[in-house]
Assembly symmetry: C2
Homo-oligomer: 236 residues x 2
DNA sequence: ATCTGTCAGTGACGTAAGTTACTTAGCCCA
DNA sequence: TGGGCTAAGTAACTTACGTCACTGACAGAT
């Protein structure tokens, strides 16, 4: 964590804190920033390793994250240690919990963790407010906001109306043929505990849908898995 | 359902479709509309009875509802007939599912039903887009948007991590001392079935927390109910 | 080669919640 | 005052999930 220093205002110039390569990178990932004065703005850049907690539920939002590389996992934690993933934020995407925290000036209602080594630029709260007056940026933010809201409703639906085996099967299908992860991580994404994941995965293996290994799940029969999922992923 | 008619443009004037009293009423409930040209705009006004379906999941959003009187219940339905209330929209409030539908141009991801006799003005999609350029309106919409998002997270949390008795107890406490509703309606709000509500309410009655009657629940010991709820309503 | 920590497997058990299939109660209106 | 409707009670049963308390398996460090 590094803060831009120096005092350019002393010589009557605006502070130039965002190096040109970073501005370029940002504009490539977030085209809606194109016409904004990135170069004359202090954006803090963080480079964190997998597992780093980036923000906590209950805390005020410290800034709006622009992900350059990696992925942030946003989830909700229960008092008994279980947790449930709400969504992930990758490069070029935005975090609606942060946006909501900034727009309503309320504490964040979820926690964010780096799911991998992650590099991100932090847009300070006042800057976020100011740049929302810029129509392209605003439209981008609120477009994604709206999309994520839909995802969240689908999640509510899944949690309220679907069995865990369906949800797990659907989840695996979204992750490609070979998945490298632990049972605990899967449990944390689905809001359950490790043992249940183990049990369900073993069932899937007995059914011939997957092959299991240490931190490894290979889908050997996607069709079977699909039918196990009951196609639980339909949005509306 | 009544559509404003006439063709004022034929005589070179903008269409004047919103009568002054309605404009007044709207501005009283939605102050962020103050500086917008309500009078020169065609706003359809609907007056519907309790139970009327106002929009369906999967359909495109027909307009942005401004509630004048009554209440809209927004919920998500499962294929087995169960349904789960996401939130309600009263006078002066806004519906984020509609807003999201308009901003992302995607089908709505929940259904809306009048929870009582409801009167509302419908802002057409293109008007909503246009008026979002007006800062006070925009800030109002997105402020509420952000707030509701928080509610939604709390809902996810409740559904994923809390028992139904806790949720029911909490729900009752929010509804005042005497509640007039059916067990089925409660089930539809919490995402379960009627029998379970009956069972739980009877337990609450045995515990001396409530007194039951036909379409009537009276809370006789709020403290007891509170402890049954496990204070399951904490947000973050 | 052994140690140590993480990851995975397992079985017994408890219980919240949904399902089925009724019966009973209360209310409206003819 | 007796149908006919909807709301509510109920009991027996099933099942998905979670909890507990382990044991075993593997990988990198020493």
């Amino acid at each position: 964590m590094r803060r831009a220093s120096g005092n350019a205002r002393a010589v009557g110039l605006r502070q130039v804190a965002t190096p040109a390569p970073l501005a370029l990178e940002l504009r490539a990932l977030y085209p809606s920033l194109t016409d904004l004065p990135l170069e004359s703005t202090a954006l803090e850049v963080l480079d964190v390793s997998a597992g780093t907690r980036l923000f906590d539920a209950g805390a005020p939002c410290a800034g709006f994250p622009l992900v350059l590389e990696g992925e942030i996992q946003v989830s909700r934690a229960a008092s008994d240690g279980r947790q449930l993933e709400l969504y992930r934020v990758g490069p070029g995407e935005i975090c609606i919990v942060s946006a909501a925290g900034l727009m309503s000036n309320r504490p964040l209602n979820a926690q964010g963790t780096a799911a991998a080594r992650t590099r991100l630029a932090m847009m300070p709260p006042n800057l976020f407010a100011r740049w929302n007056d810029h129509k392209p940026f605003r439209q981008f933010v609120f477009g994604v906001f709206a999309d994520r809201l839909g995802d969240l409703m689908t999640l509510v639906d899944a949690v309220a109306f679907h069995r865990l085996d369906e949800r797990l099967a659907g989840f695996l299908l979204e992750r490609g043929r070979v998945i490298h992860t632990t049972h605990q991580a899967l449990a944390d994404e689905l809001g359950t505990v490790r043992e249940i994941i183990t049990r369900l995965l073993n069932r899937f293996e007995s059914a011939g849908a997957v092959k299991l290994g240490r931190e490894r799940i290979e889908i050997v029969n996607a069709t079977a898995l699909q039918s196990l999922s009951g196609s639980a992923l339909k949005s509306p």
